[in-house]
Symmetry: C2
Amino acid sequence: MSLAAVLARLDANADSAVERLFELLRIPSISTDPAYKDDVARAADWCARQLAEVGFDAAVRPTTGHPMVVAHWRGKVANPGAASVLFYGHYDVQPVDPLSLWETDPFDPRLVSRDDGSKIIVARGAADDKGQLLTFIEAARAYVAETGGMPCPVTVFLEGEEESGSPSLKPFLTANRAELAKDVALVCDTNMLDRTTPAITATLRGMVKEEMTLTAASRDLHSGMYGGPAQNPIRALAKVLAKLHDDQGRVTVPGFYDGVPELPAEVKAQWENLGLTPESFLGAVGLSISTGEEGRSIAELVWARPTCEFNGITGGYTGEGFKTVLPAEASTKISMRLVGDQDPEAISRNFRAFIEANLPADCKVSFAPFHGTPALRLAFDSPWLDKAKAALADEWGVPAVVMGSGGSIPVVGDFKQILGMDSLMVGFGLDDDRIHSPNEKYELSSFLKGARSWARILDRIAG
Amino acid sequence: MSLAAVLARLDANADSAVERLFELLRIPSISTDPAYKDDVARAADWCARQLAEVGFDAAVRPTTGHPMVVAHWRGKVANPGAASVLFYGHYDVQPVDPLSLWETDPFDPRLVSRDDGSKIIVARGAADDKGQLLTFIEAARAYVAETGGMPCPVTVFLEGEEESGSPSLKPFLTANRAELAKDVALVCDTNMLDRTTPAITATLRGMVKEEMTLTAASRDLHSGMYGGPAQNPIRALAKVLAKLHDDQGRVTVPGFYDGVPELPAEVKAQWENLGLTPESFLGAVGLSISTGEEGRSIAELVWARPTCEFNGITGGYTGEGFKTVLPAEASTKISMRLVGDQDPEAISRNFRAFIEANLPADCKVSFAPFHGTPALRLAFDSPWLDKAKAALADEWGVPAVVMGSGGSIPVVGDFKQILGMDSLMVGFGLDDDRIHSPNEKYELSSFLKGARSWARILDRIAG
């Protein structure tokens, strides 16, 4: 059976795979900083060369920003009728400051042994996303080496602007729609549940952002002269914000929960048994009590329920000491995370109407332009989900958790909207990988068993 | 009758009085800016020389900051048994920036005629407080010239730090308590009701300042990862601030209205008939609806009712664009204006207890150190008030309004606490004098009739 041979080859080549990852980690491909532009380009070249070495038809494709790497498998395919896949990863990394908090050079990767015998790879980008993207390339390398081909049609698509807002992504996908639209995208930029439990991310929350300013008087007023009769926009803002959540933690905007699906019973039961309690989940950040909707588990709240959160508020004098001013305005930034079929435009419309309806006297409100993206999800009964679950259970010996992501992964939305393609999100990062922070690491087991997992997933997709 | 002669002399000397005021206005005595230190000293010298010229025993008294001017009348007193008075004013002025908004040089005073024939004196300090303090010195000058003495024992006390927080005032009053404690202080730093209606300010609101910070998580959180279950301190702050006022505009802190006196019926009636409506009072700043306690007139709200106002609020990300952060903390600055016998310490204690009692789950609150000052007032039946009312009615031909001040005049509190002395606040400024702003002005009628008013008040006090 060729899968067993592919897996054996991955195990045999583990050391050289780590050495290849180290080569990529040594390139400081910081996409936000123009000083590293050439390094970003070097990382793209390196990826394309690796893919070409495996046998892909690989090219570095220029954009007005950092380049894309696109690599098509044109060789033998074991099952040419199988679903075609587009694998996505990104070869750019976050900046490293504050450098002083790194224990070693962020671009001098090290393999560090823990007391329990496990090992970690420490470097900027080890987990986000160089280690993750190489799991797939190593799986492909072993497949080709062992079988002379791939089990199903494969295209690899890597970007170098993920950490700087992906300005070139939408134009590139739009311009190359026919070339890149496949049956399913494989996205490797997410986490496991913990070090021994694999996970598939099936839902991503959407978002509506509202930036609003309440204005009262035409200028700042002296609180001794006007305090009392004149409307205070901070008071007005507090009054209206306080109405947005009821005492059970539910958002009070009319129609807010339209299109919010209830979880399938078995998913709800699985999530309730993940051991994510308010104490365990919130304890690490100094909290212990859930302030979300009553009667929902932590996992459900973060992965499958909408929110309305205040991200910033400002008004009046906020410096040292006191100024007894009655400010002319106060403003706030609010983000609403969306799930299921919630319609971002309807949410924004209803939110604004609610604010207007609850505005205290002598106050005006203005809003920044609409900004919203819908939630995304793989149906819980999607065939891609079933194949990945089976493959991951085979590799890790325990069932994979189908989870949600509280945040968003913009490329998944772009794949859906521009290429009409669902994404299967499988990744091997851990919550403690310190991505975007000093001393980023990736578990060696994530890297090696991640590559084995992709080999198994490709086999299931082909099979 | 000597008063009539004193008034006639004031009228006859009007032009030279204006020229003296212009001399003082030409000295840029900006107390906040060290570059003008010598000019501040020059202004003190000028005032002392004027008082000496009138016949006072006048001295410039050094402090660690700008000097004080103290001048005692040691000559003839018509009624040596009459009440002794301490006249207070300040010879320093506000900075002038933005200079570009001044139509003429702020230290080149001009007499400008209006279309209706009235005249104004335009210069920095014309109203605040050089014009006001000279009304008294001119009255004294005329008294001495006409009668060879003063009607009652008089000391003049001028400071040069009023616009920079009066750092030397308390130490100076404490060190010279016996010398400066008189039967009553005459303070000339307040306004008339309008150009033709004189006013006495009988109450000053006190203040409690609270600076409080709500803390939830031990660090800023990603709203995608923690939004929902984790407490958001902005949400918590909005909830608790929204509870501080009920729907009738009353402050809900228990015991908040303890010690708040109701107005005497005749004062209440007078104030309701001043023509201060929400539209007239708030219209100039773009508002029209009173948000203060229901059923109270504008004058009562600003002069005789306590408030709880939010002066500043901040939390989370407040820059351009968006950061979908769940902040670790949010904070606010709150000032409560006090009236009557409200006890600042009890107010602060009750406020903090109310906040603690209404704090949402998983939240802590911390407060800056207590800062409070009580309200001050002349009893509405005080004899000083009666004398001043009679004198002002004689001069202006209409009854004087006894009003309150929404803000505070710190020196009045210091006179009360350190010297045990009440203050009779009579001033001739107008709300549109643009003090602290470009193109500050003082009505010529305020200056000339102000001097006549002080002559009449001194006569009544002696009388």
